[in-house]
């Protein structure tokens, strides 16, 4: 299979349009993975643990977007038939969904992480509490709005065609929108982390929370900011993916969650540029799989991850931490 993938991506028979098609397919998928992995990374960098409820927050973002644009709940949940009395334009709904998801992420921090942290529990225990929070959220979604699929109407991108032709490649407009929004968010986040005072404070906490606290940086507040941002990114990603491929029930964040974990590890745990790079690499690797073998594209993605970790256990851009004695 590796040979098939390599020959598919490196074939001399490729037309420019084929190459552009492959690049756009890979980048738009990879951008979602990167957005997702960034959420994991932000929390991991300040707490050293993975927030397993992140997938559920992503799912919530999609449902929030759906409801805010005036979507009606289906027939199977406690809220059957419920519809907000207003319908917002898609972009405003997406933004508010991001804010809503950020609020939920803060709630998760408050209930599943902070109590353990305050009692000095092993940080690994937070893996389990976050997993529990994720399961509760997903089941709550199912209880309230049922398990049926929901879709953000194709008319959400009013005025834009369903697909456009770029240098001979036919691309769904929603994929380009996804790529564009993800790029803007990734650049904005990088600029904030590198250039702002609060971004630097976050990095200081990530480096060493105790020292940062001694230097007057409010570690607790920075952890909250990391959770809020992580939730915001997850909410936006959920809404965008919901627009692209519909909301396939309360469990649809699980697949993205697993892929996001892979991206996180590939890029290097806790590395923001690593999350972006890992996402794009996995997205492109999947796009390189020949169409007839697409059913095995996860094998390629995770196989690639496996090889990289054998050669570079800290991930592509991760740091080797010195052993403490």
């Amino acid at each position: 299979m590796a040979a098939a993938v390599a020959s598919h991506c490196c074939s001399e028979r490729w037309a420019v349009s084929d190459l552009i098609q492959l690049l756009l397919n890979g980048l738009s998928t990879g951008a979602v993975y990167a957005l997702f992995a960034l959420g994991y990374t932000l929390v991991f960098s300040v707490l050293g643990v993975i927030n397993f409820a992140h997938g559920a927050v992503f799912t919530l973002g999609a449902y929030f977007t759906f409801l805010l644009i005036g979507g009606a709940v289906g027939a199977n949940g406690l809220l059957a038939g419920f519809q907000l009395p207003f319908a917002l334009p898609f972009w405003l709904a997406l933004l508010l969904a991001g804010v809503g998801a950020a609020a939920v992420a803060l709630l998760i921090e408050r209930t599943a992480f902070r109590p353990l942290r305050e009692r000095g529990a092993d940080p690994l225990l937070a893996l389990i509490t976050s997993l529990g929070a994720g399961v509760v959220l997903v089941n709550l979604i199912q209880l309230l709005v049922g398990a049926e699929s929901y879709a953000i109407p194709t008319t959400a991108l009013a005025g834009l065609p369903a697909a456009i032709r770029l240098f001979g490649a036919q691309v769904r407009t929603v994929q380009l929108v996804l790529l564009g929004v993800a790029t803007v968010l990734l650049v904005a986040l990088s600029l904030w982390i590198d250039g702002s005072r609060s971004g630097k404070a976050l990095r200081a906490v990530a480096e060493d929370a105790t020292t940062a606290q001694l230097l007057g940086i409010p570690s607790g507040r920075m952890i909250q900011i990391a959770f809020g941002l992580s939730g915001f990114l997850a909410g936006i990603a959920g809404g965008l993916v919901g627009l692209s491929v519909s909301i396939a029930g309360p469990y649809f964040g699980i697949g993205y969650g697993l892929k996001g974990l892979g991206v996180l590890v590939l890029g290097g745990l806790g590395s923001v540029p690593g999350a972006v790079l890992g996402g794009l690499i996995i997205g492109l690797a999947e796009a390189c799989v020949p169409a007839e073998l697409s059913g095995y594209r996860d094998v390629v993605a995770y196989g690639f991850l496996f090889v990289v970790l054998l050669l570079r256990p800290q991930g592509l851009l991760g740091k080797v931490l010195p052993t403490k004695v």
Binding site: Q21, L22, N25, S28, T29, G74, A75, N76, A80, G81, Q142, G146, A147, E148, S149, Y150, A151, P153, T154, T155, A162, A163, A169, Q170, V171, R172, V174, Q175, S244, V245, S246, A248, G249, Y251, F252, G255, E286, A287, V289, P290, A291, E292, L293, S294, G295, Y296, D298
Partner: protein, 405 residues
């Protein structure tokens, strides 16, 4: 030392508990039928996980059939007691739910929802002598699992070719077919084999056969490659969510030819996913709401009434709901005949299960699906099949399966 002793004792107690739990099912089978609260019948449905939309349609059908049966006297005066267990959407969940129903002393089980789950859980029922009536398993080989396994859902081998024939009748110029199927799903792999044989029988060799996975929802790469081959017929053996996304993305990327879909998309739950792009897809069905028989009219009325009472509007019953209704109707009527012949009260669970299986296979039933019977192997014999075309309403969110003559 003391700690070791406690550990040993705890292990012994736990081990004894596990062993006794394992043996409890067989004790239940040897004991009398528990008629407290009604005649026990179970169901194993996918009410959570990615196949939950099917299970929820089925639960509606079971509840309607239960109300109809108990409203007309139950099993000769004793109500039927239905216990529904959620199997999730995977094999271990189905195994656990099936085992639970067996150990509870159920006389029959309706389910599991997916063929994939049936291949895992039905052998357990077969070994323990529990009659299973599958309401929605269409993969080849389900009744062949054993004597106690039957189904009211006609095999994809019978239904699927009808939609190919209809597509070629509507568009005789079709020359280039492309096929997609979910490689990790028993139903999809079984159905695509049928579709591909039907295409071959019509002299069409697929220009490409694309494999997907159930959890996939972004098909841009595969569609780009497929459309480059200029197909004029695309045949999908996918489930509702992935299939709905595939249809939408095919149309968005400019495919204008005919789309034939399989039984996995035989649910109105695809409408919100492919939206206006669902319009025009062809599908063969084992149920038509327009079938003018007394049994179907009664079912449609009951369904519409229940939906209206729940404030859910005048919906058209989906096939899965009709098949689940039929499955419980079959079990209920077989129980009535058995109880008249040999009162359930005097039978052991094992004897009642064995006799019930014989009754199920021996009967003829007037159901919403039309008249049905069973082969000695448990395969349904159904007379009426249909080909429908999806017609979406102008809102792009609702529609119907319009029967093609």
């Amino acid at each position: 030392m003391k700690r070791r002793l406690i550990l040993l004792l705890t292990s012994l107690i736990a081990g004894t508990g596990v062993l006794s739990a394992c043996g409890r099912g067989d004790q239940t089978a040897a004991g009398p039928v528990d008629l407290k609260g009604g005649v026990p019948v179970g169901a194993v449905l996918a009410l959570s996980g990615n196949a939950n939309v099917y299970g929820q349609d089925q639960r509606v059908g079971l509840n309607l059939a239960l109300a109809a049966l108990n409203g007309s006297g139950g099993i000769n005066g004793t109500p039927l007691r239905l216990a529904i267990e959620d199997s999730g959407s995977d094999d271990p969940g189905a195994n656990a739910a099936m085992t639970l129903q067996i150990n509870r002393g159920m006389l029959a089980v309706i389910g599991p929802t997916l063929s994939q789950q049936a291949f895992a859980a039905d052998p357990i029922a077969q070994r323990r002598g529990l009659p299973v009536v599958a309401p929605s398993n269409t993969a080849t080989g389900i009744p062949e699992i054993g004597h106690f396994i039957s189904r009211v859902s006609a095999s994809s081998g019978v239904i699927a070719p009808l939609s190919i024939a209809k597509a070629l009748q509507l568009q005789p110029g079709i020359k280039r077919a492309a096929v997609f199927f979910a490689q990790d799903d028993a139903y999809s792999t079984a159905e695509t084999a049928v579709f591909q044989k039907a295409l071959a029988d019509k002299g069409l060799r697929p220009v490409t056969v694309q494999r997907t996975n159930l959890a996939d929802n972004d098909f841009q790469s595969q569609i780009s490659a497929t459309l480059a081959l200029k197909p004029d017929l695309i045949v999908l053996s996918l489930q509702g969510v992935d299939g709905g996304n595939m249809v939408r993305q095919l149309r968005e990327l400019g495919y204008k030819g005919t789309i034939v879909v399989g039984n996995g998309m035989n649910t109105p739950n695809i409408y919100p996913i492919c939206q206006k792009y669902c319009d025009g897809i062809l599908i063969a069905q084992a149920y038509s709401p327009e079938l003018a028989t007394p049994a179907n009219r009664a079912f449609v009325q009951a369904f519409t009434r229940a939906q209206a009472a729940a404030g859910k509007g005048p919906l058209i019953p989906p096939q899965l709901t009709a098949q689940a209704y039929t499955a419980l109707q079959v079990v209920g009527q077989a129980l009535q005949r058995l109880d008249q012949r040999t009162p359930l009260k005097g039978l052991s669970v094992a004897a009642a299960r064995k006799a019930l299986m014989d009754e199920i296979l021996g009967g003829t039933y007037q159901t919403p699906l039309g008249e049905i019977r069973f082969t000695p192997e448990g395969e349904v014999i159904q007379k009426d099949f249909f080909v429908a075309q999806v017609r979406m309403n102008p809102d792009g969110r609702s529609g119907r399966f319009a029967l093609l003559q």
